[in-house]
Symmetry: C2
Subunit: 494 residues, 2 copies
């Protein structure tokens, strides 16, 4: 039932959620009769956001639902017809449109790096073109937020992270998808009740200043609240004056409950303003003096990984961190810069020909061919050594000495001795011939997998400032194809 409910909210038919130029190009392909040529597109990003050392890939489940639910309604067709540039034959084709191609993808929660394919679409070019914009939208946003969440988790370590971002998230759906992504990256619970319901994430929250203000005084407000919430009693102490009113009143209520043998299993305070380093140390001291050693201190107020790191360094006495605005807006990065590029196209002889996009900027040149990413681990400690992008049909699972090549600077290479590494394929088939091939993965499983993925990185790659750069290399075969194509294309067109 939960899944069906989620379907209604997220699996809308988004056939027209596409940049208009996708549709004009589709009509062009259709009119030329080349629309069923098999094409391969890669979705990848160029630069780690936040100055981070990696990205957490997220959004695949929503992409699958989007792609498999595309259906142009009568109203959609009518709207397109009214634009006066589409031919009736093409509109008739759209009426029957469904995605019949293949999608290969990295697993959600994976640690990924710039330049490697995260999603590869192999489909008739007319189909592959349509899904570009919306697929990028979903993956760019969810991966950005999962990555932000992992950075915060990196700094917070074992404390509890509560996601409180609903009111400042960029749209209601962002509050759902962002909450989902932040859970994958390391958050423990959310204030967003609907996200809790749809994605089976624990929900959390107690009361706001308005609760206190609806009473004549703070102590009455606390006492009344304690009547209704006995298992988990968190009191907000900064409505009037934290140290002179809020905390003393909270202590009074906790001691009253204790005297009546009604002490809640979990109790404490939340602080939403003020200097957290100073206040939390004072509050912890006040609690300890009253033998309330188990009291929990929760803080929330424009927190992010940098502020948290500073508070930790100052030994602030905090158990749980409510992170809202700066998490669900991906503060510190404008967006993940994911792009979607044609890397191969069927020729007249029905053979996939590699394609390349040239640019004056070497980092912007795409890597051609239908590919696979092989993650290379150190056999001894199971940490990632490098990622190797090869042809899809290549195989590096077998033990062999290996040279891997820098994708931009062709003379740079890394040598791997056969007994000291093992590899894993990153891209797996998720849709084949328009049919879903992987089962839906529970969000808790995705999160667990993500935590394991993060363990496979040395701490140097996880620093929130100036992390080490993971080598992402090309196989010898792929490097040769790319360099040849570069030579041909620059000779032809410059």
């Amino acid at each position: 039932v939960l899944i069906r409910e989620a379907y209604k909210i997220l699996n809308k038919n988004l056939a027209l959620m596409t940049d208009f130029y996708e549709l004009t190009m589709m009509q062009g392909f259709f009119a030329r009769g080349v629309h069923n040529k098999l094409a391969v597109f890669d979705l990848y990003y160029r630069k780690n956001p936040f100055g981070n050392g990696y990205v957490i890939f997220a959004g695949l489940e929503q992409v699958i639902n989007y792609v498999l639910n595309i259906k142009f309604s009568e109203q959609d067709i009518k709207f397109l017809r009214a634009q006066n540039i589409f031919q009736e034959e093409f509109l008739s084709y759209l009426k029957e449109f469904e995605f019949t191609g293949d999608i290969f993808s990295v697993r959600e929660g994976s640690v990924v790096f710039p330049g490697e394919p995260l999603v590869t679409v192999r489909a008739p070019i007319i189909q592959a073109q349509l899904i570009e914009s919306c697929m990028l939208n979903i993956i760019n946003y969810e991966s950005l937020i999962a990555t932000k969440s992992a950075r915060i988790k990196q700094v917070i370590s074992q404390d509890i992270i509560l996601e409180f971002g609903l009111r400042r998230a960029p749209s209601p759906e962002a509050a759902l998808l962002g909450t989902r992504a932040s859970f994958i990256g390391g958050c423990d619970a959310t204030s967003n009740t609907l996200a809790g319901k749809i994605f089976d994430i624990p929900v959390a929250g107690t009361h706001a200043h308005s609760w206190i203000m609806s009473f004549d005084n703070e102590l009455d407000a606390f006492r009344e609240y304690a009547k209704y919430f006995r298992d988990n009693l968190i009191l907000l102490v900064d409505t009037y004056n934290t140290l002179k009113s809020g905390v003393p009143n909270a202590i009074k209520v906790f001691k009253e409950l204790n005297a009546q043998n009604k002490m809640p299993k979990k109790f404490g305070i939340r602080l939403d303003s003020g200097d957290f380093a100073y206040l939390t140390k004072q509050i912890r001291f006040m609690f300890n003096q009253e033998n309330l050693h188990d009291a929990i201190i929760i803080v929330s107020n424009s927190l992010d990984e940098n502020i948290i790191a500073a508070l930790k360094q100052q030994d602030a006495q905090i158990n749980s961190w409510g992170i809202g605005t700066k998490l669900l807006t991906g503060d510190g990065a404008t967006a993940l810069d994911g792009v979607y590029k044609l890397v191969a196209l069927e020729n007249k002889n029905k053979i996939l020909e590699p394609k390349i996009k040239i640019s004056d900027n070497p980092e912007k040149i795409s890597t051609p061919c239908f590919k696979q990413t092989f993650r290379i681990y150190d056999k001894k400690n199971k940490k990632i050594k490098a990622d190797l992008i090869g042809l899809h049909e290549e195989d590096f699972i077998i033990n062999q000495d290996l040279n891997i090549y820098n994708p931009v600077i062709s003379w740079k290479k890394i040598f791997l001795e056969k007994n000291y590494y093992f590899t894993r394929k990153m891209l797996e088939a998720v849709i084949i011939n328009g049919e879903r091939k992987i089962s839906k993965i529970n969000l808790n499983e995705i999160k667990k997998y993500c935590m394991l993925e993060l363990k496979s990185l040395w701490p140097e790659y996880k620093r929130i400032i100036n992390p080490e750069v993971m080598p992402v290399c090309l196989s010898k075969k792929l490097a040769i194809i790319k360099n040849n194509l570069l030579k041909i294309n620059t000779a032809n067109n410059y």
Copy 2:
């Protein structure tokens, strides 16, 4: 039909799209039997984003739809029951929940300033509490994007602005609501086909690099494209080499069409990379040499108001600007910092008592009472002189000499002579007793109104850097109530 379609996508039942603490507080109010006490909450923001001088208010239509569609489903109730903290009586109450209160709001597209109520909710406290989180979400995001768009419009002036942000917008719904908001603030068209359909915004777009790459050479790609799009032929020229390949090939195609008497009404090129100041001047020169004076030059690549201002200053030859990522992500601001505070609550005698939220930070102290904002204009030039927040029942429409007071610094005031100003009420009733009171306004009308609103500001308030600060003052009656309440509350609680 368009409206019904929009309904399906945006007017979802978002009953649970609320912070969990709203629900725990609601249960608290319910258990105490005070849930039907009439409360007044103000939604306002504290600080202009982007260092701007104002905000464009947007999102009201979505708020109305959200509020009037709240209905807890059986599944919602089941989910809440499973949390093990809600009483059955309260859950039964939720089953019958509907919003029966009043909402007063500023018109969409209005120029607004920090500290003044944008939306005022007067409803039983249990109802007013529920809608806090989602209402803030919608208004914070749409108003942020409308404001960003207005800043861009301010710099671009009469050129065309195309919104291209779908692929980097934070979630599919953000791409819809953000496009809507950016149209209000000044954009002329969008690449987002679905947003075009739902909100009746002109759609725009031609082709991508993948179109060019699907051909053996660029010239063939241009010629084929010209076959299908005869009215509006924009060719993307930077796939291989802009000045040596793209522009010469485009010129060749335009001249061929001209020779065949098939010149499109609108034609030109789009540039997605490189140095726009240099390249567009070169391209304009090349076009002029071939007598293609009407050719349009469109650019797109991580543009924002600052980059555009710099390009304008360098006399870049650009007719249309495609703005994507930095517009729909509200780049340069984390979020609009909208908040929702209790400002009045019914007492035992059924009289609305003013409420105040104290803070060590004077700017964070809320302004009590059920209020109205009076916009004060200079009679001669119709420009805004100041905003005056008064009690809802006050009236400053009549001509009288007037003193208005700074809301934070109580000795600061402005004197207005009766013959030199006129006023307008900003808040209007949009929902009364749970029923919609204003008709749906066409988005083009909202945009037109917004452009008039911007005209009522002196240019000094519209500078994108260091704008003049608009005075937002309190009426004498309101200032007295606020100061008295401050004294009482600080005496009681400190």
